[in-house]
Symmetry: C2
Subunit: 241 residues, 2 copies
Amino acid sequence: MQKPTLYTCLSPSLLRLYDVTGSIVVIIDVLRATSTIATAFSNGAKSIIPVETVAECIRLGKQMDAITAGERDGQIAEGLSYGNTPFQYTPEFIKDKTLVLTTTNGTRLLHMALADGAKSIITGSFPNLSAVCNYLLSQKQNVVLACAAWKDKINIEDTLFAGAVISRIKDSFSINCDSSQIASSLYNEAKPDLFEFMKNKNASHYHRLMGFGCEKDIRYCLSEDGAPVLPIYREGQLVNL
Amino acid sequence: MQKPTLYTCLSPSLLRLYDVTGSIVVIIDVLRATSTIATAFSNGAKSIIPVETVAECIRLGKQMDAITAGERDGQIAEGLSYGNTPFQYTPEFIKDKTLVLTTTNGTRLLHMALADGAKSIITGSFPNLSAVCNYLLSQKQNVVLACAAWKDKINIEDTLFAGAVISRIKDSFSINCDSSQIASSLYNEAKPDLFEFMKNKNASHYHRLMGFGCEKDIRYCLSEDGAPVLPIYREGQLVNL
């Protein structure tokens, strides 16, 4: 039997080059949208509605009496109460709640994949790495690993996560994709200590978040399986599969 | 004194993210446009006119009584006499001649950089690696390493060349660019044997060109300093600086 294909898209600007219509698209925004999404579900969130703009976030939050959160340029967006740090989303805060979320890169990419007709969409991050890999292995469908990047510029951390997924599931997929090979190589170099790797390479988003005092966030977002859930997009919202 | 900046752009689709107006842009199309360009100059070509379309190539070739060459999808383009293999451009064939050249990725990227207002444009490939590095070190200006990729998909070989340049000149530049770090890491892994690396990773363009029987081309295009010249774009054509 022919193996399903796997491609890695390292920037939203490149998404149009990949056929997502028959694929599971994994949205990857390691620092910090998809890590926060996994954490919120792991702590009992009922659903998360990703929206593109702050205005829509506020409007929908009022309408649904939901928690509204989001960031722009790495900080809490003006007009919103909560940001993008996974540590905000404790069980006490988020259990059984609906979260309306907007972020600089991740939520935008999710809407791009939707607009392009993605067959299904899940979100991936180190805190839910194993859940993502197990799901992709079980589905036996084509996969596009879609990195949110930073304002379309390729970043190290999302590339590393793509590489981590590939290193675990590559034998079950047909991979004819240089970006996947590049991600894989990078992850193999980094995996002894992802945090040290980000630091040594002076990764641009590492640098940005350290400037905001977010070392704890970075360390958590680079740790595997702290939030072992599978967020999947269904009818306008992410739910915990 | 502040060091000039260096950025790496891994696909033409991302070029708009980088400010090329104050920068030297290095056009990188390792397999095979920029390797062929360096080789043709090294063997005495007078000038090379990069054009975007096959029709323009034919028209201009007639008008100037020049050699016309080009490829589409890795093979000689229909209507043109010569392709994109560096071994075509021997001194007997190319000395003192003008070459009008069109290729799938490299010549298109050069025109994009021109349209974006690049301060100056040179072409880079392993056969002229040292010449490129020495020039960039001597100019002390901002640099954008621009990979031609394959129909906008990031490829291993152009990324490797960017990494090779960075590994040689990084101490003289300020590099706050994840793509440059990724290229650098990839090159460090690959440098013991670039050909074996391309083979082991089943690089997509390695695979494509091997299918056309071009192993000799690939080996040459991955070898350093076989054509130690510096092609620079001036008034509509590339000349040997």
